[in-house]
Assembly symmetry: C2
Homo-oligomer: 338 residues x 2
């Protein structure tokens, strides 16, 4: 009888790990707390660096899953514990015995209201990058709460990233390039709009990222090196942003119609809860600690428990896909040697 693997989380990494483990001959139980597969990417409109539709990527992954993957939607795994060299996975009052575990639980978007001074949840035209994607999906363009089209849009980088005040000292890796992609999309949808990016360092480090940065400059996006200090609301739902321009060392005020907060990737409290029974601890940033950063990036210190994707720290799709292959092959090695 073929062995069984539980994959906890049905985003990019969980889908890819399911595909690979099924191909290798295993039965897979895939658990997804949401009512649909795809994770955060599944709710995104278009992806960097090539502005491809996210649905194309998610659909392709979903289509490669076959009958030996049992998909459990709307299913939050509440506990994983060891029993006689195997694991019991508890969810929705049921318990499933499996031979190995792959944690692909991903992340949560930084709750923007924790940066109270940025006005999210207070001023209605202060939105998150995820909400902007949603507008692109449904309307093809950003829209103010009163239905008007914004003439001036400001993107604020590093919201819940590189910020010790909110206990997120690390960089979230994908927000800079996402902001630049979204800024281009705003200019494409609304060519007469003024678009600003307020950044600390522009971290455009991957293939095609610098090309996007150049495209944004050509399309007229204004890049300002500075950190937002606070927002306040003006008449008509407009927003005043106050920052320091760290290139000119001058305080800066801009009134805009819409502020987009580039929310970072935060560790999920529900993941940390799962670690306890497995005698695992999170790393300094609160994500799942891998066994060896260089050599065993998809092992944990717990035998039979592997890990892939953004639950180990901020990650992009490509690196999550490769990590999922890596975890799948390590599961295979573990189960064939048992």
């Amino acid at each position: 009888m073929s062995k069984t693997v539980a994959i906890i989380g049905g985003g990019i990494a969980g889908l890819e790990a399911s595909i690979q483990l099924e191909n290798l001959g295993y039965n897979v139980h895939l658990y997804e707390k949401d009512s649909q597969l795809g994770g955060h990417a599944g709710k995104w409109d278009r992806l960097f660096p090539n502005k491809r539709h996210a649905s194309e990527v998610i659909d392709s992954l979903k289509n490669r899953i076959n009958n030996n993957v049992q998909v459990n939607l709307a299913t939050q795994v509440s506990e994983i514990k060891r029993e006689n060299g195997a694991f019991l996975v508890a969810s929705n009052g049921k318990s499933q015995k499996v031979d190995a575990i792959v944690l692909t639980t991903g992340f949560e978007l930084f709750p923007a209201n924790k940066k109270e001074e940025y006005g999210y949840g207070i001023f209605e035209n202060v939105i998150t990058s995820a909400e902007l994607e949603n507008m692109f999906s449904s309307n093809g363009k950003p829209q103010m709460v009163d239905g008007k089209t914004p003439a001036k849009v400001a993107f604020i980088h590093c919201v819940g990233s590189r910020d010790e005040k909110v206990n997120r000292p690390y960089c979230s890796k994908v927000c800079c390039v996402t902001a630049v992609k979204q800024a281009i999309e705003v200019k494409e949808a609304l060519p007469t709009s003024e678009v600003y990016c307020l950044y600390m360092d522009l971290r455009m480090f991957g293939p095609g990222y610098e090309d996007l940065y150049k495209e944004a400059q050509v399309k007229g996006v204004t890049f300002i090196r500075g950190r937002l200090s606070e927002t306040s609301e003006l008449e008509g739902g407009r927003v005043l942003i106050k920052a320091e321009d760290t290139l000119s060392s001058k305080p800066l005020k801009i009134s805009v119609d819409m502020v987009v907060l580039m929310v970072g990737m935060s560790p999920l409290p529900s993941t940390e809860k799962l670690l306890k029974n497995l005698e695992l601890t999170p790393n300094n940033d609160g994500f799942v600690q891998v066994k060896d950063y260089h050599l065993e990036p998809t092992h944990t210190k717990a035998e039979g428990v592997f890990v892939a994707g953004a639950c180990t720290g901020p990650n992009n799709i490509t690196d999550s896909v490769n990590a999922a292959y890596s975890a799948a092959l390590e599961v295979h090695k573990y189960l064939t040697s048992k």
Copy 2:
């Protein structure tokens, strides 16, 4: 009889792919143009983010290779061509028939003398980041050509990266964090030294990178946002660097004892040569083009030819390791379906 795979390049990705393919039951021919395995990492002293010795990582990989990997050192593959559904790999006048190919040819360090105005190869205390690693390996500290200890050291980021003038518009991804690591190491070896980092954007995006940046600041490294325009030589082998401080918008001159050029990752001309017979073309940056950036990051458009590591673009060790697993599993799928 088990099938045979050629792996072209014995750096991190090639070693990991060899290990995984041997584990999956294949015969592996590993080709390395250098006289030893390990690639660039094998010549490095310590690695970011944890300052672990590179030799520990390379030795661990080498020790996991067994008898079904035939290692060919000092062997430059000159041609790969298809024959009857298989491949012929030509090197040193010999030819080997194999069933699949994994390209793990890596990169070359940007030839610093191409930025003539930086003085490399002209002024003797202008060195590269690789040469500094070599000094750490052999002396534990930087040393000027006359044997003296430098009192002032400047690190220049983005040499052969983000620079259209030398046809390298892309970011090399690892130089910022390497510079910060090396700056810390200089301060540790020579606590009274003055150390400067001249950067464009500090791209500290991975796990532990921001912690290194903080450590460098605590240890007294001075970070200057600016781009080097030129160097000139002063008495006693000292070097005058001229730059623009883009935070204060002022021109900047600093005289230092040693300049370290953070050379980026460039595509290898010998790799591009191999692509031709396989009907593959390089991507915009000159690296090997992958089939699908998001979904098939270790496929090429050529059937039976897979790819991993920095020959697809600048990459770090962790992501190269995972890509090698991914390529190995795709080779396995390809060869079992044939």
